[in-house]
């Protein structure tokens, strides 16, 4: 931070070194090379380049599907673009934000930031401790300076006291000094304000590190999982109850906070008018939440997650479950209950699989669609509205000899057709079942029957535990505050000199992107000290390269 006379804008000041200063001598010792590297890394130019690189590197992730956001679209993309995939896969283009190259860029950026900020903290602390800088010998050379004669009858001490008072009222730090020059002895004041600018700048940059730490901490100690819960059913916070679960390495997944939820009802409302028909209007899950110390009936809506201890419960999806009863060839109950169908489009055309492995003599399985508002046209069966206005089930049937129990987990949403054959009708075509609630279907050859008893909704609950968020959000708030300070605080230095002969000099300097008010400050200070005097304000130098100033407009 050099220069009391140069109105330096701000920020890293050590950039002016010409390029030829770079050591090119190959005989550099390892320590020197390291220092050279460090200087390069912490220079503002490198910071700028890294900033651009971060911006550039973030772009592909917004255009290419990402595994962390839409895993299914990644699979589709890989299938549709096999050639591009050969390039993208090794580059980590499907996981841009956790890829080594993206991480390398932002870690280098943070390293560069720290390397720049830490020395500046030292400089700043020193600047805060030292009094405002001494009075420059030639005040008239400063961007703003005025001279006058001390008011008659005003003693020098009194005058300086008055000036100090004015400066203190404007929140300047003031230091008095005296000395002698060719023209004689003088007494004067140095004043400075706007220390908070650099403080804000440092706070902002440190807060960015705080955000990074908060997010990293969160990645270690957070967990997040989802579970699809049908109306009337419950959920307990143990890992086996989750459909999907992701946890940081520091989470003990055997000891998740104990609580349970029961989904009493799920309400969904959709736009029925002509504009945006089918758009969601309301989602509301009525639940009973039981934690260690209490049981309460409450509701979860989209912007109102449920908080249980440190955990949050969001509703992040919904769909339909078909209640079916399956009897086997012997007339015994083979399966009964709700089966979750997974939505495929905005109108909740849903796909699902109903398995009755215990059916005898042959096990049975059904695969097909649940349509809340069923329509069959040239596109085939699909739903035209997300609400259950005309729910129907469309199923195909598979049967086969009972399978050996392996104990291996099986995806409940996918039918493994190995060892099964599709049930056909007399004409040899596959059996296609179309059911409305309350109806049933007898399979050919006495293989059994299925009835569609009704439907209910299910909600996809997300349970998340994110202990690093308060750190990250507090850092963000502090960072924004620091940013405001660093951009809006106007550091200013003012000097007053009283000469023996009664001459008053007042001058000032703005240290960051000059703002309005400096001439006024200097003027006011002069007015408190000097009486009527001829104006000796010199014209400030014109920064314009061309002599065509047009500011009159």
């Amino acid at each position: 931070m050099s220069g009391t006379t140069i109105p330096e804008t701000e920020q890293k000041g050590e950039e002016q070194k010409p390029q030829k200063d770079r050591p090119q001598d190959p005989g550099l010792s390892p320590m020197e090379s390291l220092r050279w590297l460090w200087t390069q890394l912490t220079s503002m130019r490198t910071a700028l380049v890294l900033l651009f690189l971060v911006a550039l590197a973030a772009i592909p992730g917004s255009l290419i599907p990402q595994r962390s956001v839409t895993p299914i679209r990644v699979q589709d993309f890989q299938r549709d673009h096999p050639t591009l995939n050969k390039l993208y896969e090794p580059l980590g283009m499907y996981d841009v934000y956790s890829s080594p190259w993206f991480s390398a860029i932002y870690l280098l950026l943070f390293l560069s930031l720290l390397g720049c900020i830490i020395p500046r903290i030292r400089v700043y602390l020193r600047a805060v401790k030292t009094p405002p800088p001494r009075i420059p010998s030639r005040l008239t050379r400063l961007p703003e300076s005025r001279t006058g004669q001390l008011k008659p009858g005003l003693a020098a001490t009194e005058a300086l006291e008055k000036a100090t008072e004015v400066l203190k009222r404007k929140r300047f730090r003031v230091a008095a000094s005296e000395g002698s020059a060719k023209q004689g002895d003088w007494r004067g004041l140095s004043a400075e304000r706007g220390y908070l600018r650099e403080f804000g700048n440092l706070l902002f940059h440190l807060s960015l590190v705080g955000v990074l730490i908060g997010v990293a901490w969160n990645n270690l100690y957070s967990y997040k999982g989802t579970a699809m819960v049908v109306e009337g059913r419950g959920f307990s916070n143990v890992i086996t109850q989750y459909d999907e679960f992701r946890a940081g390495p520091m989470v003990n997944t055997d000891e998740l906070p104990p609580f349970s939820l029961k989904l009493k009802r799920f309400f969904a409302e959709f736009e029925k008018g002509p504009v945006q028909r089918g758009a969601a209007r309301l989602f509301r899950a009525e639940v009973t939440a039981t934690s260690k110390d209490k049981t309460e009936d409450t509701a979860i809506e989209v912007n109102h997650p449920l908080t249980i201890g440190q955990d949050k419960v969001h509703v992040i999806g919904h769909g339909y479950a078909a209640h079916v009863t399956i009897k086997d060839g012997k007339g015994n109950l083979a399966f009964q209950g709700p089966v979750i169908f997974l939505p495929q489009d905005g109108n909740l055309t849903s796909m699902g699989v109903i398995k009755a492995p215990d059916a005898r003599p042959k096990q049975l399985a059904f695969e097909g669609l649940f349509l809340p508002t069923a329509v069959v046209d040239q596109r085939g069966p699909h739903s035209t509205f997300p609400d259950a206005a005309n729910p129907e089930l469309f199923l195909n049937v598979w049967s086969g000899p009972p399978r050996q129990e392996t104990g291996r987990p099986e995806n409940v949403y996918v039918l493994n057709k190995a060892g099964l054959s599709q049930v056909t009708n007399e004409s040899g075509g596959p059996v296609a079942i179309r059911l409305k609630p309350g109806t049933g279907y007898k399979l050919p050859d006495g293989q059994g029957s299925i009835s569609f008893d009704g439907w209910s909704r299910w909600a996809k609950l997300q349970i998340s535990h994110a202990p690093g968020l308060p750190v990250a959000f507090t850092s963000l708030a502090l960072g924004t505050l620091g940013l405001c300070l660093s951009l809006f605080i106007r550091p200013r230095r003012l000097w007053v000199r009283l000469r023996e002969d009664g001459q008053v000099e007042v001058a000032g300097l703005d240290r960051a992107d000059s703002r309005s008010g400096l001439p006024e400050d200097v003027e006011e200070l002069l007015a408190t000290l000097a009486g009527e005097s001829p104006d000796q304000r010199p014209e400030p130098p014109d920064p314009e390269p061309v002599a065509t100033e047009g500011e009159k407009r």
Binding site: R281, H314, C484, P545, A547
Partner: protein, 313 residues
């Protein structure tokens, strides 16, 4: 006519006013083409002052007309946006059409304030061009009928997040337009210096817009004002996302591009403080910044699918 129709009418009327204002400002610039600055100091005659140049007076008249037309446009826009909000019974920025018209309202209000406070009329031509194109797009491409909001938008953050986005949009757009004028004037200055190195003189409107240093300072102030608010916009969006979607940051395309925009503006602020990057390069970064901002608004909504797409578009 229903209130909703009045609302659309207001936006269409504003569009027409902006178009007329654009014509007026074009005339303002065109009438000064090739007209050199008159210099009182050379002759000490008041009649030789630039203020009394007939071409200059004619241009000035067109300029004033442009401001009046823009002001009328701003009033129509205000009426249109407010009527839309009243007709919908909610804040009028629930889809692309509404957001664009609301954001342009903030921009035109900021501009009109700047005209009266800091003499921003030199931004008249680019500003009315922006307003015409923006409102034209809103009326023709993005228009949708009034409808209620999806559940994710039922939140107080719907006001906070989007108003902050509108304010920073206004600041960034004004700053970017100033940076473009800066680049144009800079190349004019360089050409003038090349033509006659001893006595470089500018003519036309470029001789009459503020000095390069003042334009640069205005652009910096606009960006410095917008940047913390944009930071806040992203932070508020992140908090809202944690409530609405159960995650604070998910690299949704809109989030990614907000961050890209933020980083570009951070680079702008750093560039202005770095030797060799001041002036021209900083101005170019500002233009890249606004391009990224607009891509985030239009490109991401239309080309990439993500969580920030509502109401069809």
């Amino acid at each position: 006519m229903t209130l909703a129709e009045y609302a659309s009418g207001g936006i269409v009327t504003a569009f027409i006013f902006y178009l007329l204002a654009l014509l007026a400002h074009s005339a303002e610039w065109a009438t000064l083409r090739g007209v050199p600055l008159r210099d009182t100091s050379a002759t000490a005659l008041a009649a030789d002052d630039d203020e009394f140049d007939p071409a200059r007076l004619r241009s000035d008249m067109f300029g004033r007309l442009g401001i009046i037309l823009t002001g009328l446009g701003a009033l129509s826009q205000l009426a249109g946006v407010v009527a839309r909000g009243v007709a919908a019974g909610r804040a009028p920025w629930g889809n692309m059409y509404e957001f664009l018209t609301a954001a342009l309202l903030f921009a035109v209000v900021a501009y009109m304030f700047g005209v009266s406070r800091w003499g921003l009329r030199w931004l008249g031509l680019p500003m009315t061009l922006l307003l015409s194109v923006g409102n034209g797009l809103a009326v023709t491409v993005f228009y949708v009928e009034i409808a209620p909001l999806v559940p994710a938008l039922h939140s107080v953050w719907f006001i906070i997040h989007i108003v902050a986005a509108c304010i920073s949009a206004a600041a960034f757009n004004l700053g970017a337009l100033a940076s473009i004028v800066y680049l144009v004037k800079r190349s004019a200055v360089l050409r003038a210096e090349k033509r006659s190195p001893e006595n470089p003189t500018l003519t036309g409107i470029m001789a009459r817009v503020p000095s390069l240093a003042s334009i640069d300072r205005f652009a910096y102030r606009a960006h410095a004002f917008g940047f913390p608010i944009w930071t806040f916009t992203i932070a508020a969006g992140s908090i809202w996302a944690e409530y609405a979607w159960g995650r604070f940051w998910g690299w949704d395309p809109k989030e990614t591009w907000s961050l890209v925009t933020w980083v570009v503006y951070a680079a702008y602020l750093h560039a202005r403080a770095t030797a060799g990057w001041k002036g021209r390069n900083a101005a170019i970064i500002a233009v890249v910044g606004i391009a990224s901002f607009w891509f985030n608004f239009i490109g991401v909504n239309l080309l990439v699918s993500g969580l920030h797409s509502y109401a069809g578009i």
